[in-house]
């Protein structure tokens, strides 16, 4: 990660709490609790994290969840597969809006 985004800034995330520690603590408690194994395993949750990281295109999240996936025993084949799934869903979300375009065109066309 280079240029505008700095890799070391991920480690500075806690600084966000400086001007509103209560809200930041609430966020972190919620965040950490949401990643604890429940009905879903930790493995499943970090895969979801990786998918979301790609769709919101957050370099920090991509770094963090790639590492988490490797730590959970997955490899580049797992990672690539989930990136395809995330991309396909995002692609589908774009494509479905084509119906909106068709509707609009239909409404105003002869």
């Amino acid at each position: 990660m280079g240029g505008y985004y700095k890799e070391e800034d991920l480690g500075r995330f806690g600084e966000i709490g400086k001007y509103n520690p209560d809200l930041f603590k609430k966020f972190m408690d919620w965040y950490n609790a949401s990643l604890e194994p429940g009905l879903l395993t930790k493995r499943e949750k970090v895969l979801i994290g990786l998918a979301v990281a790609h769709t919101v295109q957050c370099p920090y999240c991509i770094d963090a969840y790639t590492r988490s996936c490797l730590e959970e025993g997955m490899n580049l084949e797992h990672i690539t597969e989930v990136v395809h799934t995330a991309s396909a869903v995002k692609g589908g979300a774009c494509l479905i809006h084509g119906i909106q375009a068709h509707n609009t065109a239909g409404k105003i066309s002869l």
């Binding site: 493995r43 490797l70 730590e71 025993g73």
Partner: protein, 312 residues
């Protein structure tokens, strides 16, 4: 005082000490058919260090005259030592339980095809390295074609009753993270290994052990080369779990190098850290009563054994 010693002193009154010697671990040499990227020994085909008959006989003598219960045989690839079979048979005669650490693919080297059967005949428990359940990951770390050989070797071992409910011969697998990160839950990863190996290859095993990579040897070179060394050290230090101290293997074993030198563990062997200076440091002078209560020699690499759920 090292950083590790300070950490130990924070949770207990004295230094780490041995609680007897249950296991004698012998390193039969650094020669190996593989040259894995994470190998702390830096073993490989060009290494020539190998335990000779004199030390092998001394090992057997120690087993016969001490209350040690287990002989844990490692390397390199221990199978490449020409005296392995002699050692196994004599140690079995001495009534100790035998463990061999194998890389599996060595069974396909010349003259090694009967090793699985030899292990089975002598009730040797097997701890086999299999860094992942997918071919790409294994071959990346261990060399092209290694995964296929490992799978064939596991099939052979299953055929001999290893890892099966009926066979009662113990077959355990070992996972090392393929990079600068720590292993996650052993239980969860074991489930994945079990599912993948059974569904794709019809292979069964008893347990999966997850070990953190030690930042020494070839793995240290990788960390330094990729600018990950400092971060990895911080990571293992930050993951210190005081609950692992009681179960650390160094407290229940002694490690014997290929030349007969005594160490607290295989990792100290690589670093040249022999047992505490108040103890004999060579098998020539092996004294169970002195060594059984010795102070363990530690340094900051020991954080890898106390990180998270521990690696022992």
């Amino acid at each position: 005082m090292t950083g590790f010693e300070k950490k130990v002193h924070e949770v207990q009154s004295g230094p780490l000490q041995a609680c007897g010697i249950k296991i004698l671990q012998v390193n039969l040499g650094y020669q190996c058919n593989l040259a894995c990227r994470h190998c702390h020994i830096e073993a490989g085909p060009s290494r020539t260090e190998s335990m000779g008959m004199k030390v092998i006989d001394q090992v057997i003598d120690v087993l016969e005259k001490s209350p040690i219960e287990i002989l844990d045989i490692t390397g390199g690839a221990p199978e490449l030592n020409p005296h392995l079979r002699y050692l196994v048979q004599k140690a079995r005669g001495a009534g100790v339980h035998l463990i061999a650490r194998t890389n599996l693919s060595v069974f396909f080297e010349p003259g090694m095809h009967d090793i699985p059967g030899f292990y089975a005949e002598n009730d040797v428990e097997i701890i086999a390295s299999l860094p992942h359940y997918m071919e790409t990951s294994v071959d990346r770390v261990r060399g092209s074609g290694t995964f296929t050989k490992s799978i064939e070797a596991l099939r052979t071992l299953n055929g001999l009753g290893y890892g099966t409910e009926q066979g009662k011969k113990q077959l355990h697998l070992v996972y090392n993270p393929p990079g600068a990160f720590l292993p996650s839950s052993q239980t969860e990863l074991e489930k994945q290994y079990r599912k993948e190996l059974l569904s794709k290859f019809n292979i069964v095993f008893n347990r999966l052990y997850t070990f953190a990579n030690m930042p020494i040897g070839r793995f240290r070179d990788f960390l330094v080369r990729t600018d990950n060394y400092q971060a990895y050290q911080e990571k293992i230090k930050g993951a210190f779990n005081p609950g692992t101290l009681n179960g650390l293997m160094c407290r229940y074993m002694i490690s014997i190098g290929w030349d007969g030198t005594l160490y607290d563990c295989d990792f100290n062997q690589v670093l040249g850290l022999t047992v505490d200076m108040e103890c004999p440091d060579h098998i020539n002078d092996f004294d169970y009563s002195v060594l059984a209560g010795r102070k363990i020699v530690t340094d900051d690499h020991c954080f890898a054994c106390t990180a998270g759920q521990g690696s022992t």
